[in-house]
């Protein structure tokens, strides 16, 4: 045995590049191992062995009885699906690059090698799929880095060129903020932009909203006072994902500047520097609320969630922060109250210290991730000759990511590269 191995090693070491056709075998009775064709040139990455769980292959059979192609949906009868199903025999068509499987339930399936490769269970391929196609990985930034990370695109290009649209949405996913310039000064801009992606996310306040000073306003944002850092609508379970703020008129007074902070960066800092604060802010549920009326319709919104929301793997899913929209009801045991206030004061202090300030100009559309960034504005003098007029709307990530995937497929098809 030892001898045989060492001989083989020697031979493969010495022999010139070999060609080996596509092959497959059953391993551990239930799984299928596929060895793509190997030529000397691509013996590396392209030729790696792919292992597929048999039950998964059977579940994803592509025949018309199991898969409905016009709706791209599985139609296999799961009421009688046996998870103990296993492959009995394999046949490989090397020329067509196809794998044929005969199953223990008497069914037969065929799979294209290319289809299999794109669904590889190899850890690296899976993370590439998740980061390149599912949702791009986020990069967090400090306020001082704002000018380096912020990308600017022309509104006209985003509206007319798919590539510009893709770049805008991708940068929004990665950095959470992008500026669009040169938009016309009419009130339809945010709607046209949202419909270029999908459609506007409606809220209690309607589809588009106007931010300008209104005496007697029912919402704190509709005043000319300074608006401290916050996220919009933390009192929704389905918090609107992305904010589009179109500057139509900007005040000539010294105030009215935008403030932005990447709260994921603030959370990173707390996690490293003061883990006890991070712990409290990610575990203590807070009551966020909004009580009022809009166009004669009353609402009473409440959502209970921590300031820093994490998924099961400890990744950030959302930041909630709004001083006016935090309820006076606080539904936690007494002993948690004072420590939570101390941690929250620290969070607010760090965020304030990190805020980047700039002032949008008429024709700018400020777009940012409302699940992640805190935004605010400095106060301004509001007079008849010195007003400020912003039109806003929201988009949801479900719709944006969908658009990004469609664009990625379309643009990579056009350039001839592969997408998932």
């Amino acid at each position: 045995m030892m001898l045989a191995q060492s001989i083989r090693r020697t031979i493969s070491h010495l022999s010139p590049p070999m060609c080996r056709p596509l092959s497959a075998r059953i391993v551990d009775k239930v799984n299928i191992e596929v060895q793509p064709a190997q030529t000397g040139a691509d013996a590396g990455a392209g030729g790696a062995v792919l292992t597929f769980p048999g039950v998964w292959l059977r579940d994803n059979c592509r025949c018309p009885a199991c898969y409905h192609s016009s709706s791209q949906s599985r139609q296999l009868d799961w009421n009688h699906f046996d998870p103990g199903v296993h492959p009995l025999a394999l046949h490989v068509d090397a020329a067509k690059e196809q794998l044929h499987v005969r199953w223990s339930d008497a069914h037969e399936s065929s799979f294209e090698l290319d289809w299999l490769r794109r669904r590889s269970f190899d850890g690296q391929s899976q993370s590439a799929y998740l980061n390149d196609f599912y949702r791009p990985r986020t990069s967090h930034w400090a306020g001082a880095q704002f000018e380096q990370i912020v990308q600017r695109f022309s509104y006209d290009q985003v509206m007319s060129e798919d590539e510009a649209l893709q770049h805008w949405l991708k940068a929004l996913a990665v950095y959470g903020v992008v500026l669009l310039n040169g938009a016309p000064l009419d009130e339809g801009v945010v709607r046209r932009l949202a419909e270029r992606v999908g459609f506007i996310r409606r809220t209690t306040y309607g589809e588009e909203f106007i931010v300008q000073a209104k005496p007697g306003a029912k919402n704190y944002a509709y005043l000319s006072l300074p608006l401290p850092l916050h996220t919009d609508l933390p009192y929704y379970e389905y918090k609107p994902s992305v904010n589009l703020l179109h500057c139509v008129v900007q005040t000539q007074s010294r105030g009215g500047s935008n403030l932005l902070v990447d709260a994921y960066h603030i959370a990173d800092r707390l996690r490293q520097e003061q883990p006890e604060h991070f712990e409290r802010l990610s575990r203590t549920p807070v009551d966020w609320n909004d009580i009022g009326s809009e166009d004669g319709r009353e609402f009473h919104n409440i959502w209970r969630a921590p300031v820093i929301c994490l998924d099961a793997d400890g990744n950030y899913t959302r930041i909630n922060h709004s001083v006016p929209q935090r309820d006076s009801h606080f539904n936690v045991p007494l002993g948690q109250v004072l420590p939570w206030y101390e941690s929250y004061a620290r969070f607010v202090q760090l965020a304030r210290g990190d805020a980047y300030s700039f002032k949008t100009q008429p024709g700018d559309v400020l777009t940012f991730n409302n699940l992640r960034l805190l935004h605010g504005r400095t106060g301004y003098d509001d007079t008849a000759d010195n007003s400020r007029y912003i039109v806003g709307a929201y988009l949801d990530w479900d719709i944006i990511y969908s658009r990004l995937r469609v664009l990625k497929k379309r643009l990579s098809k056009a350039s001839g590269t592969a997408a998932a």
């Binding site: 998740l130 029912k218 929704y236 009551d287 995937r405 469609v406």
Partner: protein, 392 residues
């Protein structure tokens, strides 16, 4: 007049307020009282919200200096170490008492009512019917319908007109429709070459709608305009939270797998002009930090062939999934809606399906569907409860 006893817990920095000797004192943390001062400098009545500037440099070391009770105003008065003075009305304090009993009351009566899970056998007991016209006319009926949906996740509305605008009218009565990639309203009837699996006459196994959205539509409304005369086309409904309960008791390892393994849910296609490729990765059974159910995802056609988990997790997951589906089928109840019915259910929780039917020119089935979100439905539930005096 109430005889009020005030005291302080210096160590925990609490204010204690006792109304009757035989009752426990209400308890309030000092820092929370300062944060929620109701004076015009700290709180803006017109927007009903805290004024934020105090938080620019909040001093969590602020201390209470003097405590008193104003019998005339029935209010608690406090002088603070930062020179500020606050006053809190008794009714306001009572609603915000930090005692476990009051906090539980708030969650149940104001936040979201407690859900009751039900088995297939209990269907007849939990089922409730509402008349369409009464829902439009009567706020109390509207509230009862929303309450039934929140608690049991299912309600049947009868006698709706056979007109296209009915669901919009009903949704506007609550708030507004939830739009998706399929538009506001959608039609379910057999279509040759359908781009969605639901638009066919084949049996539609139990599923939740749109598991491929992070923001999955919350409440499904299905308005029957025409029902198939063939023996098929029955509705199937099962409470998947109850199915999860059963799995948790009987097969804890299967429960673990279904609540811990992320699944790729997907929908690829187009509707009118809009092309989409929706994906959301999440387990079948979704739990919050405390292990309570937040959502069920299940749809055989909408489960992606991409499965982004380590290969050794695959087979055990399939075994658990097969068990879940078997239990869901066992717990399913079947009924057949008739024209004018609107079936409404919690799509976050309930799995639904239909048996197959023969679709011919003389034997059609036409259902119009729409969605509502829980954010909007609970808001309406709270406003109605308050207006109708249910929180007194």
């Amino acid at each position: 007049m109430t005889c009020v006893q005030l005291s302080r817990d210096l160590q925990q920095q609490l204010v204690l307020l006792r109304l009757h000797l035989e009752q426990p004192a209400m308890q309030f943390p000092e820092i929370w009282l300062r944060d929620n001062c109701q004076c015009p400098k700290c709180y803006m009545q017109q927007t009903r919200s805290r004024l934020p500037h105090g938080w620019n440099c909040l001093d969590t070391g602020v201390r209470l200096q003097q405590l008193s009770w104003c019998a005339e105003q029935q209010a608690l008065l406090i002088d603070w170490s930062d020179g500020h003075q606050s006053s809190y009305a008794l009714g306001w304090l009572r609603a915000r008492d930090f005692s476990p009993a009051n906090r539980a009351r708030y969650l149940r009566d104001i936040y979201r009512p407690e859900r009751r899970h039900w088995s297939g056998l209990e269907f007849a007991q939990i089922q409730r019917e509402f008349q369409y016209e009464e829902l439009l006319r009567n706020d109390e009926t509207l509230l009862q319908w929303l309450h039934q949906l929140a608690v049991h996740g299912l309600a049947l509305i009868r006698q709706a007109p056979l007109e296209a605008h009915v669901l919009r009218q009903l949704c506007n009565r609550v708030g507004f429709m939830r739009r998706t990639t399929y538009g506001d309203e959608w039609s379910v009837r057999a279509q040759p070459g359908a781009s969605n699996y639901a638009y066919m006459a084949a049996p539609l196994p139990l599923h939740t709608d749109m598991p491929y959205f992070e923001y999955k539509p919350s409440i499904t409304l299905l308005h029957t305009l025409q029902q198939s005369e063939s023996p098929g086309g029955w509705n199937l409904i099962s409470d998947a939270f109850h199915v999860a309960d059963l799995l948790r008791q009987r097969e804890p390892s299967a429960f673990q797998l279904l609540s811990g393994t992320p699944v790729d849910w997907a929908d690829i296609g187009s509707d009118k002009e809009l092309y989409f490729h929706n994906i959301w990765r999440a387990p079948v059974i979704n739990l919050d930090a405390k292990g309570r159910y937040v959502r069920i995802n299940h749809s055989i056609p909408q489960r992606d062939s991409h499965f982004s988990v380590p290969p050794e997790q695959v087979r055990p997951w399939y075994e658990a999934m097969a068990m879940f589906i078997r239990l869901a089928n066992e717990e399913a109840c079947a009924f057949k809606t008739t024209p004018g019915d609107i079936l409404t259910f919690d799509n976050v929780r309930i799995v639904h399906g239909r048996t197959g039917y023969d679709d011919t020119d003389h034997n059609v089935r036409h259902i119009v569907g729409a969605f509502l979100d829980w954010d909007i439905a609970y808001s309406r539930w709270r406003v109605l409860r308050n207006a109708l005096g249910h929180n007194k």
